[in-house]
C-alpha cells in the first residue's frame, strides 16, 4: 500500500462520512418538518389537491367542457356531487381541472420569478455597481399595486395561461429579488466567503457555491408564500376575465361564471372558492412549517410553548 493510496482511501472515507452526515442532517430536518403540525396539515391539504390535479383525467367524473342544456344550474345530486354550472357542466370536474390550471400557473410563477428574482437579486447584492440600477427598476415595478400591474399586463398580452404566468412573474420577481439581494449582502461579508476568495475561488463560484447556497432557506420560504399568492392572483385575473380563456376551467373563471347566479346556484361559486381556500391554506401552513424548521431562532422561541 502506497502513501498515495492511503491518502486516497482516507479522503474517500472522509467524503463518505460527510455524505452520511449530510443524509443524517437531511433525515433529521425532514423528521422535524413532519413533526411540525402546521406543515403536516398543509402538506396533507396541498398533497390532496396535487393528487386531484395530477389525476384529473382519471378522477374527474365528466369532461369539464361537456355542456348539457337540459340540466344547467342543477343543484348537487348523486349524478353531480357539486351540481352543474350555467352551461350544465359538472362543477366537480371543472373544479378538479381548474385546480390543475391554478397549480400550473402558480408553479410557473414560482419557478420563473424564483430564477429571475434570484439572478437579479444576486447580481444586485454582489456586483456593487449594478445594485442601484437593478434595484431602482425593481422599486419601479413594486411601485404599482401588484394585482393591478398583473391585470394590466395580462390584458395587454391577451387572455391565456402563459399571459397569466408572465404577468404574475413580472409582478412577483421584484419581491424575490429584494429578499435574495438582502441575503447576498449579509452573506458576502461572511468570513468563509472571504476565505474562499482568498483561496483563489472565482466570483461565479463564490456567488453560486458559497453565497446563493446560503440564501436558499429564506428563498424557499418566500417562494412557498408566493405560490399561495400566485394562486390567489390567478383567481383574481381569471375572475376579471384576463386569465385562461373560456371554456378552459380555472378556479377564478368558474367563480366569475357563477357570480351572476350566486343566490340561485351558490354551489357554482362555493366549491371552487373552497378549493382556492384549501390550496392557499395548505401552502401557507407549509410555509409556516418550513420557516419555523429552517430558522433555528424561531424554533428556539417556539420550543418552550
Amino acid at each position: 500500500m502506497t502513501a498515495d493510496t492511503a491518502t486516497a482511501r482516507s479522503r474517500g472515507s472522509l467524503a463518505a462520512e460527510m455524505a452520511r452526515a449530510r443524509r443524517r442532517r437531511y433525515r433529521a430536518f425532514i423528521g422535524r418538518l413532519f413533526a411540525h403540525r402546521s406543515f403536516l396539515l398543509g402538506f396533507v391539504l396541498l398533497g390532496g389537491i396535487v393528487v386531484l390535479a395530477a389525476g384529473a383525467n382519471v378522477i374527474a367524473p365528466y369532461n369539464p367542457d361537456q355542456n348539457d342544456y337540459h340540466s344547467f344550474l342543477a343543484p348537487p345530486s348523486a349524478a353531480h356531487w357539486m351540481g352543474t354550472d350555467e352551461f350544465g357542466r359538472d362543477v366537480m370536474s371543472r373544479v378538479i381541472f381548474g385546480t390543475r390550471v391554478s397549480l400550473r400557473i402558480g408553479l410557473g410563477v414560482v419557478v420563473a420569478s424564483g430564477i429571475l428574482g434570484t439572478l437579479i437579486g444576486a447580481l444586485a447584492g454582489y456586483v456593487r455597481w449594478l445594485d442601484g440600477a437593478l434595484m431602482r427598476c425593481m422599486d419601479g415595478l413594486m411601485a404599482f399595486p401588484g394585482v393591478l400591474l398583473a391585470i394590466a399586463l395580462a390584458a395587454a398580452l391577451g387572455p391565456s395561461e402563459l399571459s397569466a404566468i408572465v404577468a404574475l412573474t413580472v409582478t412577483f420577481t421584484p419581491r424575490t429579488a429584494r429578499i435574495v439581494r438582502a441575503s447576498v449582502i449579509v452573506t458576502k461579508r461572511m468570513l468563509y466567503v472571504e476565505a474562499a476568495l482568498a483561496a483563489g475561488a472565482g466570483h461565479l463560484r463564490v456567488l453560486f457555491r458559497y453565497i446563493l447556497a446560503n440564501t436558499l432557506s429564506p428563498l424557499i420560504v418566500q417562494l412557498t408564500f408566493m405560490f399561495a399568492v400566485s394562486i390567489l392572483a390567478e383567481a383574481i385575473l381569471s375572475f376579471l376575465g384576463v386569465g385562461p380563456p373560456p371554456p378552459q376551467p380555472s378556479l377564478g373563471n368558474i367563480i366569475a361564471g357563477g357570480r351572476a347566479y350566486i343566490q340561485e346556484a351558490p354551489w357554482v361559486t362555493i366549491y371552487p372558492g373552497l378549493a382556492i381556500a384549501c390550496a392557499v391554506l395548505g401552502l401557507n401552513l407549509m410555509g409556516d412549517g418550513l420557516r419555523d424548521t429552517i430558522d433555528p431562532r424561531l424554533r428556539t422561541v417556539r420550543e418552550p410553548r
Binding site: 342544456y69 344547467f72 391577451g158 387572455p159 376575465g241 380563456p245 373560456p246 351572476a260 343566490q263 340561485e264
Partner: protein, 520 residues
Amino acid sequence: MDHSNRTSRRNLLAGTALAALAAALPKGAAAAAGGEIIFVQGSNPPSLDAMSTSSQASRNINMNIYETLYGFSEHTAPIPILAETVVVSDDGLTYRFPLRKGVKFHNLKEMTAKDVKASLERYRKVGATSNLLEAVKSIDITGDYEVTLTMHQATPTFLESFCSPRAPAVIIPEEDALAEAGKTSIIGTGPYKYVEYVPDSHVKLTRFAEYSQDTRMPDIDGFGGRKTAYLDTVTFRIMPEPGAQTAALEAGEVHIVEEISVPAGKRMEKNPNIKVYKNMPWAMLTLIMNLDVAPTNNPKFREAVQVALNMEEVMALATAGFYELDHGWQYKGTPYYAGDIGKSYYNQHDVARAKKLLAEAGYKGEEFSILTDSNYTEHNKAAVVIAGNLKAVGINAVINQVDWPTALKIRLQPTGWHGWTLMLGIEPYVGPVALVSTFTGKRPLFVKNDRELDVLYQELVIGKTVAARKVTFAKIQKRLYEFFGIIKLGDTGQMQAARSSVEGYRPFRFPRLYNVRVKA
C-alpha cells in the same frame, strides 16, 4: 225610509263631488300621485344628449326627458308625438309636419318651428344615426308651427326610419342646437326634467309640472300617447353588479331593475313583493362573420358553420332558457316576417354535412377566432357553445373574450377576428330597413359588402308599399341564407323585475316611468 233617502242623497252628493274632483285631475290621478321611483341599470349613460348616442343606458333616461316629432306606437307603427300629423305630397318628395301648439320645453319656452328646424339641422351634424336624414334635401319653416322636409327623391320608408329610437331625433330648444355633441343643457319637452347626473351613482329627474300632455290618445302608446308624470322624482341608479341589483330590489331599496338574470327571475316570481316582467322578443342573437379573412371569406366554410350549429343548445345556454327559436330576420308576427325562407338551414346540428362542406371548402384547420365580450352574458355564453359545436365538426375554434369597448374596437379592424357574437336589439325592432342597413353601406357588420344585398337594400328603401317591401325583404332573407355572412342564432327575451308596489309599469324598449305610480 227617510234615513235611507238621506243616505242616498249624501252618497249622491259625495259621488258628485268625487266625480268633479276626478274630472279636474289628469286621467288616472285619482290614485296616489307623488313619491319617488328608483330604477336600476347596469351602466352609466355615455351621454344625456339624446341625439348623439345610441346607447341603451342613455335611451332609458333620455326618452323620459325628450320627445320626437314622430315615434313608434306599441305595435311599431309611426304615430305623431310633437307633430299634429304629417302630410306627404303625392310625389313623395315633401313631408309637411304641422306641430302641436302650446308644447313647452323644460325652460318654459314654447316649442315652435324654429326649434324643430334647429334640432333637425343639429341632428344631421351630431346625430349618432344621422343617416336617418340622409334622404332629406332641406328642412324649411313653413309656418310658426309647421316644418316641411323636402327629399332628394321619394323615400317611402322615410317616416319609419325617422321614428327610429336608436339615437332619436329629439326636439330641443333652438338655443341648444349649436351645442357640440354632449354639451347641450339637457332640456326637452318630456314629462320629466333633468336635475343632476353623478357618474357611477345616479341620474335624477323631477316631474315637469308644466308638461304639455298629448290628449289625442286615451293612454300611452309606444313612444307617444297620453303621458302623465305622477312621480315627484325619478332616480336612475347605476349598479353594475347583477347580484347587488337583485338584492337591492328584494330589500325594497329600489323599485325597478332594468334586467335580471333568468334564474333570478324564476326565483323572484315566488316573492309576493316582486313582480317579474317578460319582454319577448327583445333581441336577435347572431354570429357575425368576417368576410375579409380566411377561412371565413369562403362561403362553403360559412355554410359549414351554419349547419354545424345546434341553435337550441346555443340559445338555451346563452339565455338560461328564455328564448325562442326562429330563423326569421324579422320577428314572428310582424308585417315583414318572411315565412319559411332559410328554415332548412336553421338549427341543423348536422355534423356529417358540416364536415362535407368543410372538405369542399378545402379547410385545413385554420383558426376560427370568435370575438366576444365579458359584459353581455348572452354574447360570451353563446361563444362558448358555438366553439364547442364547431370543434365537434373539426373547426379549430378559439374564443377571444375581451371587455365590450375592446370588442367593438377589434371588430372594426379588418383582421384579428373571424366570428363575433352580437345581439341586435333595436335594429330588428325598428324594421327591415334599419336591420338591412347594418348589412350594407360603407362598413357592413361582416366587413365586406355583398353586392346582391346592396342592390336589394336599395330596392327595399324605395319600395312604395309594405307589400312591395315585404317581397324585397323575402329576397333579402333568401340571400342571407345563401351567403351566410351573419348567422341568426335565435330570439332572446329581457326579464325585468319591479316591487309589487309599482303600478302601471309596462315594459317596452325603454322604461316608461310616466303613467307609473308607487303605492305607499
